[in-house]
């Protein structure tokens, strides 16, 4: 039995974690949750820095923790890697020596370790930085070296703790794409902790939503994020998603509809998802004309009041594409009244091409 199986219960003053989680071999699972949901506690239990009151953990068939029989493998013997928010490269070692550190700690010879390190540095596009010290690297370069270092010992499970937080806005898409590619190439089993729905969408096969120490929802990333069932997932997700294939000017859905948008680090022909916020979607009774817009025919499924706006939830029309099911548009109550929007009515959703981002996807 490979992959990761965890059951853990831990109680502290004012907080209790109770989770039952499994990650298949080679699978990437994203854990989404608000602050205080227990994400750090979960990471602590997995990495061995915290001991739960009750729990069992097996990684790749190896028991690492079992409170019933007292099994507790210390962090350095777990084969569980961590890529944290900060790169934390060892400042006294070159980039190459940083990446070679893990293989060396496992007993590899210097030559073999450095060869592996060079290969990984090349994989993250940092081959030419091998001899630099961390102080001579930019923040983004440090992150890439840290990623290579985390992969170097071939961990049975890689923990990604908000790997894209605290990164420059312009460096984030490149790093996200790199993570996706490198993790896929290495067939790395990984657990990604994040509060960003987009990270989960791009990087994860499956999403687990954690709230107040419990798993409140889980499933394939796109389903959970497009049709959130828990209030928290709805709040963080809250994005319109359309799956398809990237092409030069945007995205083509499975049924051949062209969506115009800007590509974010994605190659033509790759599986992709078009992402736009419901606030960018306008609702029309007649098909709107002019301007670079994407227009879809929808059937109104529901109206959800959300403070100052009303969220118009779409369903697929009888004759139309099914991918519009679940799309949302945030409009003013006045617009709802003017247009006479009611569940069951046929309407048009329109969104400007400039509001649509096309991301590569797992």
């Amino acid at each position: 039995m490979s992959g990761v199986e965890l059951t853990a219960r831990l109680e502290r003053a004012g907080f209790a974690l109770d989770v039952d989680l499994s990650v298949a071999e080679g699978e990437v699972v994203a854990v989404l949750g608000p602050n205080g949901a227990g994400k750090s506690t979960l990471l602590g239990i997995l990495s061995g820095l915290l001991r739960p009151d009750d729990g069992r953990l097996r990684v790749a068939g190896r028991p690492l923790l079992d409170t019933a029989d007292g099994t507790f493998v210390p962090p350095h013997r777990r084969g569980i890697g961590l890529l944290a928010q900060e790169a934390l490269l060892f400042p006294h070692l070159s980039a190459l020596a940083n990446v070679a550190f893990g293989p060396r700690a496992q007993g590899a010879g210097r030559g073999a370790a450095e060869e592996r390190a060079r290969g990984l540095l090349a994989a993250v596009g940092a081959a030419e930085l091998a001899d630099r010290r961390p102080a001579q690297l930019s923040g983004g370069q440090q992150r890439r070296v840290a990623l290579a270092r985390a992969l170097a010992p071939e961990p049975g499970l890689l923990l990604l703790d908000e790997p894209l937080a605290a990164l420059d806005v312009d460096a984030t898409p490149a790093m996200r794409t790199l993570l996706r590619r490198v993790i896929a190439d290495a067939k790395q089993t990984a657990l990604l902790v994040t509060h960003d729905a987009l990270d989960a969408l791009v990087l994860a096969d499956r999403v687990v939503v954690l709230d107040r120490g419990r798993i409140v929802e889980q499933g394939p990333a796109r389903e959970v994020l497009a049709r959130p069932r828990s209030p928290f997932s709805a709040r963080i997700a809250g994005l319109d998603l359309v799956p398809g294939t990237a092409d030069g000017t945007g995205l083509r859905t499975a049924d051949g509809v062209e969506l115009h948008g800007h590509a974010v680090e994605v190659v033509t022909g790759e599986a992709a998802v078009a992402v736009f916020p419901p606030s960018a979607v306008s609702v029309h009774a007649e098909r709107p004309e002019g301007s670079p817009r994407n227009v879809f025919r929808v059937r109104v499924a529901a109206l959800e009041p959300r403070g100052d706006t009303v969220r118009v939830r779409a369903a697929a029309p009888a004759s139309g594409p099914d991918w519009v099911d679940g799309l949302a548009a945030d409009v003013t109550p006045a617009a709802v009244a003017d247009l006479g929007v009611e569940p069951g009515h046929a309407m048009w959703f329109a969104v400007k091409a400039t509001e649509v981002a096309v991301h590569g996807m797992k």
Binding site: H76, G81, F90, S138, D168, E265
Partner: protein
Amino acid sequence: MTTARTTGPRSASPARPPRREGVADRHGTGVGLPGWMWVPAGIGFLLVALPVAGLLWEADWAAMPQLLTSDAALSALRLSLLTAAVSTTLCLLLGGPLAVVLARGRLNRWPGALRAIRSVVLLPLVLPPVVGGLSLLFLLGANGLVGSGLDAAFGIFIPFTTVAVILAQTFVAMPFLIVSLEGALRTAGERYEATAATLGASPGLAFRRVTLPLVLPGLASGLVLAFARCMGEFGATIAFAGSLEGTTRTLPLLVYLQGETDVAGAVALSLLLVVVSLVVIVVGRPRGLDGRG
């Protein structure tokens, strides 16, 4: 899949050169400081510099070679260097681990214990050295708690021997190493060690390959300070080891002795100690002593 598209705009920028702190930019103006600050600062500087300059003024330069190569002077210098070297090594072997325990240790059952231990360990920093010397004498002297036992069981008698000089120096100098190293360990933090563990490094390996290199500057500065403190040790030595030529009469003790009878000799030896101290500060350049943190 190409790697080209993974290189963001930031990664193409040339690496920034390492920041060179402490190198004054002649165009920089800083934020300025109140002008009156220069006056007490200047007086403070003079208070340190003038006595040393006075020594230079007093010195009998013609007789200097002869004064410094007298048997008594050479013997004291040799003893001082030897005992200071051994004591500094002892500080490293005992104080080093003590600093690591104080910085990293966890005694879950007695939460306040480490703080109490630290207070005791740092006591010699504020204790008059002569009191330290007397305490050692009471402990290891002929009638002392441990001393009487050592004498009876093994015929070992420590006071007024070179070993006593070393113990006295270690007693007063060890806190300097501990303070310096513990500070460096706390500054470095445990995050790098935790990272090393996630990469598969055992605590021992993480300590050797990560912790130690990170705190090396702090450790070096602690060693330099401890060595300097050993070279200058007077009070504890004279109380516990006495002043026997060739055995326990280190340079500071010789300076004090000659100050009574032979001023020129005392001045010459004082200058020698000044030179040794300057070498320690310039060569060792302890962190925090040259204002570079």
